[in-house]
Symmetry: C3
């Protein structure tokens, strides 16, 4: 028995650990002039409530399942069986399609309460499929073929499929952890009965208002590419990503949407931001409150950009100037305070006099525990 | 590892325990003359099926989440993070708003299969919020601010909030445990789009028929007060509560509804009813079947009163004469047999010839296990 | 702590074990000429995703609950409390009604990805009830009274009930395990507001197309009988079942539907198919991959028959010629490859020119882990 939030029970080749997380969010989104939606202003929710298990079995097999009970009906997150031999892992089931550094970093360990705007806007999600990854000393190779997420597959007429690949080069030089990655993705929507909207909330999830949204498009395929750069040096880190999403629209020109962000951060209490297997990992306080310390404090600043205007489609443009303060009294407890100003052009919701160019100020607060 | 139904694994400051309970109920509700509803007569159901976890982390943090799978979609019960220092506990998340002794006593440990009629009729439920409690030697202070329950918060336009406070004085004198409590509550419903009905089932939950119900009221605020008195002396106990609910109705007079009960009980096998932190606790058989004993047997009698008539609102009046026989072969297994006669005035459902003053006889049976 | 996929924690009379299983299926169903349904061809899904717990408590009590999260809203599988004394067990809660050898064998241990066609077609399911079973050395007696499944009981007007009994004689003679069983069942549908359709998928579950289906019938009662025969000798086994379902239809003649199968199998790697308490049990590889072996490989052939034509009702007839190859690298990991040809007469879906006599070829693949 070892403790990782919850106890992990293990014996030669076998292991079992319960999993869980709770995130309670409260936030305020300012009301641009002329927009009356009651979802603006103060709102609060349970952001995530996962229960699940993970384990390994002798012979190299493992599994993990996380179910999120926060939505009105439970949703599968990770739900897979894997097999590991040496540096290679084969995974069958629902898991992430290697979309981006930000998407692959657990929401427990992101620097902001919500991920970069492009990740939701471009519809990143876990899907059922089979993938392989090779974890070298500095090289990470990931590739897979996927159909759709478990909930959407309950429709047996769903014939979508896609391919996803990612390569990461992550050398450690002179105490600095570097990360350079690139990913490419193709998805055929199969039968395209239902249209697709690309849209995003204003960097907090307690509201359902989306200032940014394309109309529903008859999408036949998506082709997207991402670039990732990051460095962690002592208590400082910097990270930037860009992502292009080309959308094949039936009977119309194909727009390319674009998103990205650039961010810098400082752990005031001296720790380094965690990094593992091509993604950011958990911050572990050097002096947790358990030992009479004050835990870890991190300050991050981000410029976030999302452009859903192209080829005659007007989904709007969002620029976010964001700051995040995180306090971790212990490894498994986190409080976050986020603030920022979002600037919109061609927003999907009209303000006073039909104005679609305005700004919104957000403040968010999160209480989190995980095991 | 210690056993509390399920094993609790613990190590200096850390602990983890799976949680669960199942209650299978069958019941019969007699059919007042002229009422044809098929929900009357025999009915059965899984009353509650909780799965969850609780744990503590070194540094004073803890958590608990219980999910009830008995409803057609799962519902959060307790879902919170807490922090304890000495006699004070701060709780963030979904938990009870200190409503009454009966409501705060776990359904595992109530003396009847269903709680006093006023608790459901007045809409007591767990809500998302932050609270503090101080547990003194004989004094318990509890107070918090809450928004709404997790399911209702999925609507981001939900702007309800409220304040709840309770004080309990519970001295132990000459072997007798006394309990005197008072609670006060205020709730602003925020946007009052949907109306509120105050109503109650006939003391068994397998039926969905409510003989007692107000019309849907445009409620803007609720102010309520409760008083609690109890004593446990050897195998005997007595308890009484009263609760007043003042409802602010938009554009109409504000009614005050009233509920309460008085109850006495005897543990025929000699144990004392459990009591802890301002609520009744688990009965632990002195001679469980494990040791060849017969377990614990408890007999309780209750008069229950609920009056939903006031200020021109006619919701009806119910008087319940109730008896409960409980058998606990071990600490974590319980069988209950309930019976009673309910007398209605101004019931919401009309019987023969429009008659709204009638009675119903109920019998209920529960099989319960928890861990 | 002992390992059964997941760790089982136990101490004199007490035990607790987390439970789970995941089955990922992909399949192809050929398209009979003239049938355009998009659910044919390739489809994939998470077939089952159970999480649950089981335990025992000192004094002879036990419990088990499994919740399947694969459907769009979670469904209870086993959910019961039991009490065992010597060879007799009393069970209260939701459990199987002793329907047939095939139905009572866990889906983890069936020889094919889907059970014999009659089991779903005749609506076998777990229901809330109380039952007793006596496990003798060679004799197994099972009987119970049941109402309905938990989900359907959420309607308090549900007044259905039924009786189920089964007897199994299972001597072991000269190293060969024999099994002879018979079961009888009666069910009153209570209020028969909603009609009942008897129907079945084409031996894979990823599609929702049913070539076989009766119209919706106003059923008042069901009376059914089954016979079971099986033998396990070294690496070989054989099994056959027949089942008759007599349906009482309001205001019409009462049809009797019939289903059955005959099957033989061979464990190429020499193990014997598991058998326990009147049902097939887990195959345990003699040389698991853990020890450098190749695991267990089983080949099974089955002829499956289902006839839903009788007394003027035309539900169609299906004959299945099926093969299954199973590979178990370890006790708790399984991969299955199924293939077969289904021959339909009087199918419910018309092909080219109204043709209702055609065939379909199926291929299925399953990846499974359980604990």
């Amino acid at each position: 028995v070892s403790w990782k939030g919850a106890p992990e029970i293990s014996a030669k080749g076998w292991s079992f650990k319960p999993r869980g997380r709770m995130q309670f969010d409260a936030a305020n989104v300012s009301r641009p002039a002329g927009i009356a939606d009651n979802g603006l202003g103060f709102s609060n929710e349970i952001r995530r409530a996962y229960l699940g298990v993970q384990g390994t079995m002798s012979g190299g097999f493992g599994y993990r399942v996380d179910i999120d009970f926060a939505p009105s009906s439970p949703e599968f997150q990770e739900a897979y069986i894997d097999y590991t031999r040496g540096r290679t892992t084969i995974t069958v089931g629902q898991h992430n399609g290697f979309q981006s550094l930000e998407e692959l970093t657990s929401d427990l360990n992101t620097s902001f309460m919500e991920r970069a705007a492009f990740t939701d806007a471009f519809g990143f999600e876990r899907r059922l499929g089979i993938s392989a990854q090779y974890r070298g000393k500095t090289l990470l190779l990931q590739g897979g073929v996927f159909t759709d997420n478990i909930a959407d597959l309950s429709d047996d007429a769903n014939n979508s499929y896609g391919f996803d690949g990612r390569i990461v080069f992550a050398p450690k030089m002179g105490g600095t952890q570097f990360h350079a990655g690139a990913s490419a993705h193709y998805r055929d929507t199969g039968s395209m009965s239902a249209g697709t909207r690309y849209r995003q909330r204003p960097q907090v999830h307690t509201t359902d208002v989306r200032f940014l949204a394309t109309p529903s498009l008859p999408v036949t395929a998506e082709t997207n590419y991402g670039l990732e750069l990051a460095a962690i040096s002592g208590p400082f880190y910097a990270v930037a990503e860009t992502h292009w999403m080309n959308v094949s629209v039936a009977g119309a020109a194909d727009p390319t949407f674009f998103g990205g962000y650039i961010e810098g951060g400082w752990l005031l209490t001296g720790e380094s931001r965690g990094y593992k297997d091509g993604a950011f990992d958990r911050i572990k306080p050097a002096n947790p409150v358990t030992d009479g310390g004050i835990g870890a404090v991190a300050l991050s600043l981000r410029y976030d950009h999302l452009d859903l205007n192209d080829a005659g489609i007007v989904g709007g443009r969002q620029q976010g100037y964001l700051a995040s303060l995180i306090w971790k009294p212990t490894d498994y407890v986190l409080f976050a305070l986020n603030g920022g100003r979002l600037i919109y052009d061609d927003a999907a919701i009209a303000g006073t006099g039909g104005d679609r160019d305005y700004g919104a100020t957000i403040v968010g607060l999160r209480s989190q525990i995980d095991f």
